[in-house]
């Protein structure tokens, strides 16, 4: 897979993870390029969640190498990931319903004026700018309480929260799982814009329709191994479904690695 001249922002090389006797991931390789939306698909238990949690530092890989901008790094704690500029938007979004959009976006990273007073003006302004830059137009006011937002709006807030910290890699876990048709479309457009802004995006999804709508590349996990890594415009749903359900193990993953 010699895709681009630049080294990928994030590169996984032969990463494995086991929980006791269970091999959750076996020698997986994955590249995330700047400006590229990569979809990570696979059946339940294929290792998608394990992979993103390991990248996020929640439970580090047991073996293999993680490279960031070509440099080997160790991510053993969520803070390591955040420091590198890797942000994860989990399925439950982790928003505080009783706080407004600005308060949620800056939660834990508030800006201050003198004497520890919160700098509400600066935070509100930046939050609005981020929303505008991401073309999130459905949101009325950034001072709305999150409890009053629709599912799509909440997802947009969670994504905006993830990208406003100079992040370079954004991982989205099933961002459209709980959304209706129109809102799914909005969120997918937002995901596409993240890629267009030069971020490396990893989209974890069950929904192949969504994946084909937005992804540049599709990586398929099966039983903890990567069984396919396909360009979205050079493959079909049929081929991806086959890889998910019956992708050839071990050998298939092995042959894809060498070029890089």
């Amino acid at each position: 897979m010699a895709v681009a001249a630049d080294p990928p922002i994030l590169a996984l090389r032969g990463v494995s993870k086991r929980f006791g006797a269970v091999r959750a991931l076996t020698r997986v390789d994955l590249d995330l390029q700047a400006g590229e939306v990569v979809a990570l698909v696979g059946d339940n238990g294929a290792g998608k969640s394990t992979l993103i949690k390991s990248v996020a530092g929640i439970h580090p890989f047991d073996e293999g190498e993680v490279r960031f901008d070509g440099e080997p790094v160790r991510i053993t704690h969520p803070k390591d990931a955040a420091d590198l500029g890797i942000e994860v938007v989990y399925q439950d979004l982790a928003l505080a319903d009783n706080l407004d959009v600005v308060q949620n976006m800056y939660l834990g990273r508030e800006r201050h004026k003198a004497l520890g007073v919160l700098d509400e003006e600066s935070m509100e302004r930046s939050a609005r700018e981020t929303m505008t830059a991401l073309a999130v137009t459905t949101l009325g006011s950034v001072r709305q309480v999150v409890a009053g937002l629709s599912g799509g709006q909440r997802q947009s807030v969670a994504v905006a929260k993830a990208v406003m910290w100079n992040s370079r890699v954004v991982i989205l876990d099933e961002p459209t799982a709980a959304l209706g048709v129109a809102q799914t479309h909005q969120v997918l457009q937002l995901v596409r814009r993240l890629g267009d802004r030069g971020l490396a995006v990893l989209l974890v999804s069950h929904n192949l329709h969504d994946v084909f709508e937005v992804a540049d590349r599709i990586a398929v996990l099966r039983l903890g191994q990567k069984v396919a890594d396909l360009r979205a415009d050079a493959t079909s749903q049929q081929e991806v479904v086959e890889a998910i359900t019956a992708g050839e193990l071990a050998d298939a993953a092995g042959t894809e690695v060498d070029a890089s």
Binding site: A94, N98, L99, E121, R143, A147, Q153
Partner: protein
């Protein structure tokens, strides 16, 4: 999954947040309309408590004129002062969706400690008060660690505290019956009254700070090119606060004058409101009450914040005990009794702070205590028994929770919270 576009169109409408960016709020009438719309959607704000206080005033005055007299007005402020101090700390614990049943007897322990140190051991006031604060901090730390680090339910930890600290009160007071307090400082806390000039001066300072804070915020928002509250609203609010403040001072000065403790209460409420609404700590408290997991993932040290909340609660309880001792000028085996903890929690809930965490204001301690003490005081004037007082207080608490839960349903329906 199957539901398409469930709530988008109504949500797009402006004016759901405190400050809406779009048109509508730029004028006084727009602001009023926004307020009415929020009322209609179940965001009642202060309205129920104001209506409740008016009802209490009207009913008890019609039954006995003495209720509204200047002397009784100052009595009411002094009587409710320990409750307000204790309840102000309880707000923090309720905001993180926990409960603190120990505050009553923690205040009792503090009262006994200060009385014995001053009267028997002749300690200087400063060190005695410092030790009271330290007692509160330690008790709060202990209970907080048991809840946050060990993972025990706060209901049980503080119930054990309720029983245990009651025991400590009895042990400390053992065989003494009553310990009187003669320290002029401690007695003065609730028995000193300001001269009219000083009282007006202090109130003027409060109003000025209130106005300046709003104007500064408005100026900062203008500089940042953000939507602002119309000037007429700021003027109206400030005028309202000034009328209430100066009115209270004027009315009190017809009797004994404005009590010093009244000023202390205002300072406590203002300081804690600042902490809750203008600092990261307060923001994190609210976040933990709203979604603890989200707070944890945002990198907030959740355990630390929760422990601090219990420390604030117990420390304010200790200081409340000091105020209680000052009011009674003595401490006996009943110190901390009389369901102080239940009254404090009830006050905070009546004042509009949710029992389920994340929603509330410090001032709910003041307003709720005013309701509870108003009922108590009014029924005392009518010569009614404690039994009748409890029945009515219980009823008021129930009504307050009922109003809140109906309003919450309204908010949920209109997607506000």
């Amino acid at each position: 999954m199957t539901e398409t576009e469930p709530r988008t169109p109504p949500q797009a409408a402006p004016g759901t947040g405190g400050v809406s960016p779009a048109a509508g709020a730029a004028t006084l009438s727009g602001h009023l309309k926004g307020y009415l719309r929020r009322l209609a959607s179940g965001d009642l704000g202060r309205l129920p408590i104001v209506v409740g206080l008016l009802l209490i005033g009207v009913i008890f005055t019609s039954l006995n004129n003495a209720f509204i007299s200047p002397v009784n007005f100052t009595n009411l402020i002094v009587q409710m002062s320990p409750l307000v101090v204790i309840a102000a700390g309880v707000v923090f614990v309720l905001l993180i969706a926990e409960v603190d049943l120990s505050v009553g007897y923690v205040s009792g322990v503090a009262a006994v400690v200060v009385a014995r140190l001053l009267t028997e051991n002749g300690w200087p006031v400063v060190t005695a008060v410092a030790l009271v604060v330290l007692t509160g901090l330690s008790i709060g730390w202990l209970q907080g660690v048991l809840v946050a680090k060990v993972g025990l339910p706060s209901l049980v930890v503080t119930l054990a505290g309720l029983v245990g600290w009651n025991g400590l009160v009895l042990v400390l007071i053992a065989g003494r019956g009553t310990v009187t307090i003669s320290s002029p400082f401690v007695v003065g806390i609730t028995n000193a009254y300001l001269s009219a000039t000083v009282a007006y001066g202090v109130m003027a300072a409060f109003v000025a700070v209130y106005a300046v804070v709003q104007l500064q915020r408005r100026a900062a928002r203008t500089r940042a090119d953000l939507p602002v509250v119309p000037m007429t609203v700021i003027v109206t609010r400030t005028a309202g606060v000034a009328a209430l403040g100066f009115g209270a001072v004027f009315y009190a000065s017809l009797g004994r004058g404005f009590p010093l403790i009244g000023v202390v209460l205002l300072v406590v409420i203002a300081a804690f409101t600042f902490v809750l609404e203008r600092t990261s700590f307060g923001r994190h408290v609210l976040a933990i009450g709203g979604n603890r997991e989200a707070a944890r993932r945002a990198g907030i040290n959740v355990d630390r914040i929760r422990i601090i909340c219990f420390m604030i609660s117990a420390t304010m309880a200790s200081l409340g005990g000091l105020v209680f001792a000052s009011r009674l000028r003595s401490v006996d085996t009943n110190a901390g009794g009389g369901q102080i903890e239940l009254n404090a929690i009830a006050a905070v809930v009546i004042g509009g702070t949710s029992l389920f965490g994340g929603h509330g204001k410090i001032s709910s301690a003041l307003f709720g205590a005013l309701v509870i003490q108003g009922v108590d005081n009014g029924m005392g004037l009518l010569g009614l028994s404690s039994g009748a007082k409890f029945l009515v207080t219980g009823f008021v608490l129930l009504v307050a929770v009922l109003v809140d839960s109906v309003a919450r349903r309204g908010r949920t329906r209109s997607g506000l919270a």
